[in-house]
């Protein structure tokens, strides 16, 4: 087996790491989810599926799934449409193309922490002279307490615009790559057949040709929305802790498993397993629906 030795020489170091830092944790997590484990990472008392039952009837956990759904319902379609629009616009111009592409891509260099800082303390800081409230003031509107108001829940506007700014450029690049793979002769043929250059070309040539890109973008957007943590933690968190509203699943998991109120690894692990199954299910389903 001379290839065997060479294979493990190349793949071995990575495979060992993958086992230790991905598969062992997952296995341990499955084990811990069946046990009581508070303030310790060693299982203490076997409780069977009780942690799962607790999580599935736990109001804040279910609310966190609701928060994710609301967030995804905003962020997935908005990012998709706006990134596609930017890609179409940038792709159609010839002068200053690289400039615009760079400007839209540049926010990718920023972290969610930095963006949260700007959004929370500068644009939407809730005082009369904050940027958003200054602009509202020009139209005679009253200042809005953006991040602390729950009715209406203005914090959604803060969180959604923040993520849009950070991720639009990345998805725009994916769409531009997809657009550049569409053969020009398809458009020419369509125009000869009388299709309009705008809407009909988009509808009958561009969108069908972008099918694989679109599926990939939707999947990535959904998984990314589901993993929301950074901007929620930094925009809504305060020195007194995190408010009871707008906790996405990872925020909830973070406070359950590692929060200051007591480290509950049993329930935290059960929650992680439920979330993993959920996202894997949605991913498989979405992949199936869109590739049909």
């Amino acid at each position: 087996m001379k290839h065997g030795r060479a294979f493990w020489l190349f793949v071995g170091p990575f495979a060992v790491g993958l086992l230790v830092f991905v598969y062992v944790p997952i296995g341990w997590s499955l084990l811990l989810s069946l046990f009581e484990a508070r303030n310790t990472v060693t299982p203490t008392e076997f409780v069977g599926l009780r942690n799962y039952a607790d999580m599935l009837t736990d109001e804040p956990f279910l609310a966190s799934l609701g928060t994710f759904s609301v967030f995804a319902a905003f962020i997935v379609p908005l990012t998709f449409v706006l990134a596609l629009a930017l890609a179409l616009l940038v792709n159609q111009i010839s002068f200053m193309k690289a400039f615009f592409r760079s400007v839209f891509f540049l926010p990718t260099a920023c972290s969610y922490v930095v963006a949260s800082l700007v959004w929370k303390l500068s644009i939407f800081n809730g005082v009369r002279f904050g940027l958003a409230n200054t602009v509202l003031g020009w139209f005679g509107a009253e200042p809005v307490a953006w991040t602390v108001s729950t009715s209406p829940p203005w914090y959604w506007l803060v969180l959604v615009t923040l993520r849009l700014w950070l991720q639009l450029g990345f998805y725009m690049i994916l769409f531009i790559a997809g657009l550049q793979r569409i053969p020009q002769h398809l458009y020419e043929a369509a125009w000869i057949d009388g299709a309009s250059r705008g809407w009909q070309s988009l509808r009958y040539i561009t969108m069908p040709q972008l099918r694989t890109t679109s599926v990939a973008v939707l999947l990535l957007l959904l998984v990314a929305a589901y993993q929301a943590f950074d901007e929620f933690y930094n925009v809504l968190g305060t020195d007194r802790g995190y408010p009871p509203f707008a906790r996405p699943p990872l925020i909830y998991l973070y406070y359950t498993a590692l929060g200051s109120g007591g480290q509950d690894f049993g329930h935290g692990s059960a929650g992680a397993v439920i979330l993993t199954l959920l996202i894997a299910g949605v991913t498989l389903l979405q992949g199936r629906v869109f590739t049909r």
Partner: protein
């Protein structure tokens, strides 16, 4: 039509640049100017000395956390390129009975959102005694199934003739990889390297979980800690944010070609 396009793009570009402008404006102002009752476009007097004060402030371990971030990002980038590159090549090019088993294990990790494994990974890393330790920050992030998968896809399309010439010259798998394949794949390595560096520099949840004492904070954790507390000067916070973005803006501007190509190659195929 053309004018409309440029108008739309310019308006969008202004919106996209506003946050960068705000970081600079707020970081170079005085506290009084930031809390002034009317909006000023640019501070009356730009306070460059804010930089010196920021780095001299013992309450803000900015220099220390920047060094931590840099060390973590460089080690993770280099480690991923070496480990995932080798593994990707082995999976793509070395015929072996169990290579499909390993491949399935790699691809399966793509289905598990990395963020959900932070609880179990924390459990393992804390058992190893790596909390608030450089090892805990760096090592778990080295074994990226995604990067390995991308390398495999790339090496599958690498021209076989080039490798065969090396084989005829008497090189084995190891020699072929290092002397022929890697030097001919610099662009791809650069692209994945930039992506790994940016991702590592900007990551927040894992360092937040694992870097529990102040000496091990990365810059994102440091910024966040001051953002969610009352105890810091807002001007310094913005200036610290500006300083934290700087390394990436430099990387971006210098390597944008590779980065854009890398994103478009990886994102869609992945």
């Amino acid at each position: 039509m053309k004018v409309l396009r440029y108008a739309a793009l310019s308006a969008a570009a202004v919106l996209f640049l506003i946050p960068f402008y705000l970081v600079l404006r707020n970081g170079l102002a005085t506290e009084a100017e930031l809390t002034a009752p009317t909006w000023t476009f640019w501070p009356e007097e730009i306070r460059w000395e804010n930089f010196a004060e920021l780095f001299a402030n013992p309450a803000v371990p900015l220099a220390r956390s920047m060094v931590n971030s840099l060390v973590v990002a460089v080690l993770q980038t280099a480690g991923q390129l070496v480990l995932c590159g080798l593994a990707g090549y082995g999976l793509a090019r070395i015929p072996y009975r169990y290579s499909n088993v390993v491949l399935v294990l790699v691809v399966a990790t793509l289905m598990i959102p990395a963020a959900v494994t932070f609880v179990p990974t924390f459990v393992v890393v804390s058992t190893l005694g790596w909390v608030s330790d450089l090892r805990g920050l760096v090592i778990p992030g080295l074994f990226s199934g995604f990067t390995t998968f991308l390398f495999r896809q790339y090496f599958l399309n690498f021209p076989r003739e080039v490798e065969e010439a090396a084989r005829i010259d008497g090189l084995g798998h190891w020699g072929t990889y290092w002397r022929v394949v890697v030097p001919n794949s610099k662009g791809f390595f650069a692209a994945l390297g930039v992506i790994a560096f940016v991702t590592s520099w900007n990551q927040f949840l894992w360092p937040l979980v694992i870097a529990q004492d102040q000496d091990s904070w990365t810059v994102q954790v440091a910024l966040s800690t001051f953002l969610t507390s009352q105890s810091i000067d807002v001007v310094q916070l913005f200036l610290a944010a500006a300083v934290s973005i700087l390394p990436l803006v430099i990387v971006f501007v210098a390597l944008q070609r590779f980065l854009v190509r890398g994103v478009s190659e990886t994102g869609v195929k992945g």
